[in-house]
């Protein structure tokens, strides 16, 4: 008899039995749960906060919108520099020692922020707009370092930009065609056109993949502002939370706990660390029957004496 395979206990069939109706038990359980579910649903309803849209973003915070769009065109946004699975950047690539699973998996959802988020929608919007067509032609014809110089200057100017009547006003400077391009993109966004253009960017009629619009939305501050108001931020234990007064995902408490404490809370590869930690703990939970110590805690802390107290009392009485 090894530590792997403890001696067997008695066969359940060797004990005195009582009548027990399993199907009646299931029916009673179903009845109780039905009442609970109907009362909870009827009295408390369920949360449904409207989704954010690029249109709302552009209307509520045009400066943030234009700043983000400029970052996409400049290739400096989080999405533009992300790395696998979206592109060959490295801004959001996580690794741990010799483990580089994100890079090993490779690029599979191709995201090109410059064209997908800015130039393609603008080219479509330029169909009836001669000024925009000309600005786009100027931008396309310019050398890469000229484009960079315009974009850098515009980005710096945006730090002092203001919103006036839905337009973004930047201090004067040499931005080339970038300012009219961004003004046009803002107008498309405010009209609601950009939401659709990003979704069907590839010219597909049917679409269920929201990678483009969600990455673009996520790069800005509007979506995260709404999330913060609803206490959904990571450092607000947001993984566990739900909008409004509804219970969230309490079962994710341990997953999100790691993000709040050292060394996870300051690590640049925090996600990888947490997922690996939870992977190890899940494996341990799976293998409890085989882990000495972990499988013996129920013996050491005898909560089972409460579960089976009638049984133990009868056994004691029987032996007297």
């Amino acid at each position: 008899m090894s530590w792997l395979r403890p001696a067997r206990g008695p066969d359940p069939n060797s004990f005195r039995t009582i009548r027990y109706d399993l199907l009646k038990e299931l029916t009673v359980a179903l009845g109780v749960v039905s009442v609970l579910v109907l009362i909870l649903a009827g009295a408390l309803s369920s949360p449904d906060v409207k989704p954010d849209t690029i249109q709302r973003w552009a209307q509520d915070d045009p400066v943030d919108f234009v700043t983000t769009a400029t970052g996409e065109l400049a290739g400096s946004s989080v999405s533009a520099q992300y790395g696998p699975p979206y592109n060959s950047g490295s801004g959001s690539v996580q690794s741990l020692g010799p483990l580089h699973p994100q890079e090993w998996a490779g690029v599979h959802q191709h995201v090109d922020s410059v064209n997908q988020f800015v130039l393609d929608p603008l080219n479509k919007a330029a169909a009836s707009n001669a000024t925009l067509t000309s600005a786009l032609a100027t931008f396309a014809a310019a050398k890469a370092d000229q484009q960079t110089s315009w974009l850098d200057a515009y980005t710096a100017a945006l730090a002092n930009a203001t919103a006036q009547d839905g337009a973004v006003v930047v201090p004067a400077g040499d931005y080339g065609p970038v300012d009219p391009m961004m003004k046009a993109l803002l107008a498309v966004a405010r009209s609601g056109g950009l939401d659709g253009l990003l979704l069907s960017g590839g010219g597909t009629f049917y679409q269920t993949d929201y990678t483009s619009p969600l990455l673009f939305l996520g790069d800005g501050g509007h979506l995260s502002g709404l999330a913060k108001d609803q206490m959904l931020f990571g450092n607000q234990w947001g993984v566990m939370n739900e909008t409004g007064r509804y219970p969230g995902q309490a079962w994710l408490w341990l997953y999100t706990l790691w993000y709040q404490i050292p060394p996870y809370n300051t690590a640049s590869n925090a996600d990888l660390l947490v997922v690996l930690t939870m992977g190890v703990l899940s494996l341990a939970l799976l293998l409890v029957p085989f882990i000495p110590g972990l499988r013996d805690i129920p013996r050491w802390i005898p909560i089972h004496r409460l579960i089976w107290r009638r049984f133990y009392a009868e056994e004691r009485a029987r032996r007297r």
Binding site: T17, I18, M240, G244, G248, I303
Partner: protein
């Protein structure tokens, strides 16, 4: 129900009232399940005791 929930802070822990209620109810249900007597064949009726 769409108004923001109250939140509680203890050190690095931050939890919403609804989540706290869920966890509290779970602990309560578990303790009750341990201590409340189970109805029915309490000491087994005589007929059952003799029957295997």
């Amino acid at each position: 129900m769409d108004a923001p929930a109250p939140y509680f802070h203890w050190g690095f822990i931050e939890i919403s009232l609804p989540n706290l209620v869920v966890i509290g109810v779970m602990l309560l249900l578990f303790v009750l399940a341990l201590v409340l007597p189970f109805p029915g064949h309490a000491d087994g009726n005589a007929r059952d005791r003799d029957r295997q």
